[in-house]
């Protein structure tokens, strides 16, 4: 009787197009209670609190939590907000389980054995403060305050959690500065060289486009709430084009999907430009009115042949032509560029080429077209220097900087460096909102540095992470739900509230209280900035003269009352034809690129050019992007989420065959940095010569018990411009384990 689901497998036939799902009749008028479980409704009764998800995710969902007797019981999307609908993502659904996880650390602990041995002694907060402050004071006395390094990034992306609370402490101490540049910055430079900005139009307007191009982006993992707007456009006839070396869900659903070899996007964009130009699909009227350097571009494009493009990208030219034709003939086209693709040694240069391509097509300045990368309109309007109290840093302008991507180099036992130069040794790392052993590239080297006996490592976290297990002292942090904050998204221009949902669990202390009390123990509370409450920090951030805020008259009270406000509303984006480049035009010829040492029009450099021979000769390029069920190193312990696989390697069918690897086999990936073990997923989702393994998985949760993780393999060399991480410029060998 059992019917094999595969017997229903069939090709996709043509079918007609009718209305949308919304007209359905619920049809439950005569239903009875029978079979229901009314007690399941109880958790939905109670006070509703609005809180913004603060994982590092462009969606930055506004969520509604139900609270009963001080306990959070249920979460749903703030459906009154267009971007949200009723639903968080797969991770957001599990926030109650995240908060009440059985393995939360709820009291301070001190190391009771060797570093990393896993032996702990419970201590009181008073002891913790005493131990931390005396050791830091000793370090300051012996080595200077700039021997203390904060490490943090996206554990809490709220205004107080990320900067307002902790940064005040580090400014008061006078610590070394951490450059938080793991993400986006290569493309910032590349895009600025074309239009002067990395910001773009409102994604709500995607519903008006005729052509949505997803380029190097996996919307399912990092912008799932944007997909419904793409689908609305498609229901009205818009085309979906995708460029990605990995077959993402959107790539599977696309009208045309191009699968270039990783990091060859400059060549691909050039091929498309070439086709547009040769086939009268370049928008010459737009180009004349809005750009400079078009003749230089024509010349440069001419120098590159389709043969070469085909060879480098691996994309058959007919397929590329088909793509270029649909794109070039679309009246309105919007590009969504991913954050991942630019994490390459040539990240800035690739991003630049794609933005230039969009100018050749004349696709800026109207509702339904444009280029969406990082819509930080709300975030960039905040008064960061006041919110962080930068003015109290004794030598804030001259103190050394460490790029977080290079943390392993900065804490190296014998040869500490930053930006390629030797630096004064770091004697203490205070890790909060972060887990660098899992998240930073070259995890083995990170561990080596963290294990140094003369490095004092304090971890403020609510879980025993790969980093926490190497700490000298662990102080329990709250989750984001246990203190009030605000947050800005980086897709839809919103500034949102993050009300306190519950009281701190156990003895945990949030990102402001911990640093404020530590400051008091260290005698740093003579700064009035160290004695304020949450509201004052938020008001300091909102004390901004930025036009986006002032013109819209946005106030603290308004955000508290309305729960979310839209901060910026230039619509259509670039509708005035004013670009933010030095020339005021779109720059096909860029002095900025020239000054950076690259070709001022298009630079065809590839990551392989910069790899050491040992790595360059390895047969596989490893991409380590996000997966939908994790956000960086978060959610690894969370009930309902932790069983979704995160330790797999997608290997192309042909490659697997050649290596004698079958689906679900154990495989070993390796390079000069180390090795990591995964379960093989054999599929044509990745092309030949490419392997994909999820990013930021934890060593201590490796299901094979080998304490291995993807970042054992990744490179910590920085990108061409912007000082960004370049995880994807990593080569590996693969074998059956």
């Amino acid at each position: 009787m059992k019917i094999n689901r595969r017997t229903f497998l069939q090709g996709v036939g043509a079918s007609s197009v009718v209305g949308s799902l919304s007209g359905l009749v619920p049809g439950i008028a005569t239903a009875t209670e029978r079979g229901g479980a009314p007690d399941k409704m109880l958790k939905r009764e109670g006070k509703i609190v609005y809180h913004t998800c603060q994982r590092n995710c462009a969606d930055r969902c506004l969520l509604k939590f139900t609270v009963q007797n001080g306990r959070m019981t249920y979460v749903e999307g703030a459906s009154e907000m267009k971007k949200m609908g009723t639903s968080p993502c797969v991770k957001g659904h599990a926030y109650v389980q995240y908060t009440y996880a059985a393995d939360r650390i709820l009291h301070p602990m001190e190391r009771a054995g060797a570093k990393g041995e896993g032996k702990w002694r419970r201590i009181s907060w008073d002891e913790a403060y005493e131990k931390i402050s005396s050791r830091l004071q000793q370090i300051i006395k012996e080595h200077g305050a700039d021997s203390i390094l904060p490490y943090s990034y996206s554990g809490h992306e709220g205004v107080i959690g990320k900067y307002g609370g902790p940064s005040r402490f580090f400014n008061a101490v006078g610590s070394r500065k951490l450059d938080r540049k793991v993400c986006v910055f290569a493309a910032y430079e590349g895009l600025k060289s074309v239009t002067g900005t990395y910001q773009g139009p409102d994604p709500y307007d995607n519903i008006y486009t005729n052509c949505y191009i997803s380029w190097g982006q996996n919307e399912t993992a990092t912008n799932v709430h944007g997909i419904k707007f793409i689908n609305q456009a498609r229901d009205k006839g818009a085309k979906l084009l995708v460029v990605n070396p990995i077959r993402t869900p959107i790539a599977s659903q696309a009208d045309i999907w191009l699968q270039p070899k990783p990091s060859t996007d400059t060549h691909l964009a050039t091929g498309i430009m070439k086709y547009l130009i040769e086939n009268d699909l370049a928008d010459t009227k737009f180009i004349e009115a809005n750009t400079i350097g078009y003749q230089d571009l024509l010349k440069r494009v001419d120098e590159m042949s389709y043969d070469e493009i085909e060879k480098v990208t691996g994309v058959p030219r007919e397929k590329m032509f088909k793509f270029a034709k649909v794109y070039g003939e679309s009246e309105l086209s919007v590009i969504r560029l991913g954050y991942g693709m630019q994490r390459n040694y040539n990240g800035a240069r690739m991003s630049r080429a794609i933005a230039m391509m969009h100018a050749v097509a004349g696709q800026y300045g109207k509702i339904g077209n444009g280029f969406v990368y990082d819509n930080t309109q709300a975030d960039d309007s905040l008064n960061y220097s006041k919110g962080r109290a930068d003015h109290i840093h004794p030598n804030g302008d001259t103190v050394g900087h460490v790029n977080m991507t290079e943390i392993a180099k900065a804490i190296h036992p014998t040869n500490p460096t930053a930006y390629g130069k030797p630096i004064k040794p770091i004697k203490a790392v205070i890790n909060y909102n972060g887990n660098f052993v899992s998240v930073a590239p070259d995890s083995n080297a990170c561990r080596l540095g963290a294990m140094r006996d003369d490095l004092f490592l304090v971890v403020h976290d609510f879980l025993m992470t790969d980093t926490a297990e190497l700490a000298d002292i662990i102080v329990p942090s709250t989750t984001q739900f246990e203190f009030p904050d605000m947050g800005t998204d980086y897709n839809c221009y919103h500034m949102q509230t993050s009300e306190k949902v519950i009281e701190p669990l156990g003895e945990s202390k949030d990102n402001w209280i911990f640093f404020k009390e530590l400051a008091a123990h260290m005698g740093l509370d003579h700064h009035p900035e160290m004695r304020v409450d949450y509201e004052q920090i938020l008001r300091d951030f909102l004390d901004t003269e930025e036009p986006a805020f002032r013109h819209n008259n946005i106030t603290y009270e308004q955000i508290i009352k309305e729960k979310f406000v839209t901060v910026y509303d230039q619509r259509p984006y670039f509708g005035d034809g004013k670009y933010k480049t030095p020339s005021g035009k779109i720059e096909f010829y860029s002095e900025m690129m020239k000054e950076a040492g690259y070709h001022p029009v298009i630079d065809f450099g590839l990551p392989e050019d910069e790899m050491i021979p040992e790595e360059k000769s390895l047969p596989f390029r490893m991409l380590s992007p996000a997966i939908p069920q994790r956000a960086n190193s978060s959610f690894y312990n969370v009930k309902y989420i932790r069983n979704f696989p995160a330790y797999f390697a997608k290997i192309n069918t042909e490659d697997a065959k050649a290596l004698g690897i079958s689906n679900n086999d154990r495989v070993r990936l390796s390079n000069q940095r180390g090795e990591a073990f995964f379960v093989a997923q054999v599929s044509s989702q990745v092309g030949r010569g490419t392997v994909m393994a999820p990013k930021n998985n934890w060593r201590r949760m490796d299901p094979q018990g080998k304490a291995s993780c993807t970042n054992n393999l990744t490179t910590d060399k920085l990108t061409d411009m912007g000082g960004c991480s370049a995880y994807h410029s990593t080569n590996v060998a693969i074998e059956k384990a």
Binding site: A29, V224, P249
Partner: protein, 181 residues
Amino acid sequence: MSINQKVGFVFRQENCVGCGACTVACQIHNELPENHRFRKVDRYEVQREDGAVDVWLSHSCMHCENPACLMVCPAKAYHVRDDGIVVLDREKCTGCGLCASACPYSAVSIREDDGKADKCNMCVELLDRGMKPACVTGCPVQCIDTGNIDEVLKRPSASKEGIGYGDCITKPNMVIIKERA
């Protein structure tokens, strides 16, 4: 049994991205053990003219008109409501497992924690309050809905065939809408 209207699931398979939010939203609403899923998401690799693509099927109980589970259950634990929803009364279940092996859609399984069968009741406690099931409100892509199947089936793109899903003698009540070819 008299069925006045048939409520069923409506699924836009062409839009599903396989994220698993529906599965988790269901587990959370129904307070399921971690390894127990009423709603599962399967990936199919489908060959097309210019190569393979991935298609996902999010599926749970089909609330069939001729439920195999109901027919084989010796404890009479299954019941079809007036609106066509097939509900399971777990109090009556003895854990014999016949329904689990009878269901052609793998929608019923025995729970590890109490050894009894369990399956999707379409969140009738929500439906009865005019709300939608947890999977429907829990899909960020908005590709699952519920509706009156007789009405939905009148739409030209509606069918009981999809990738990994097809009609059978139990007469399932899930409809796939494929508005774009």
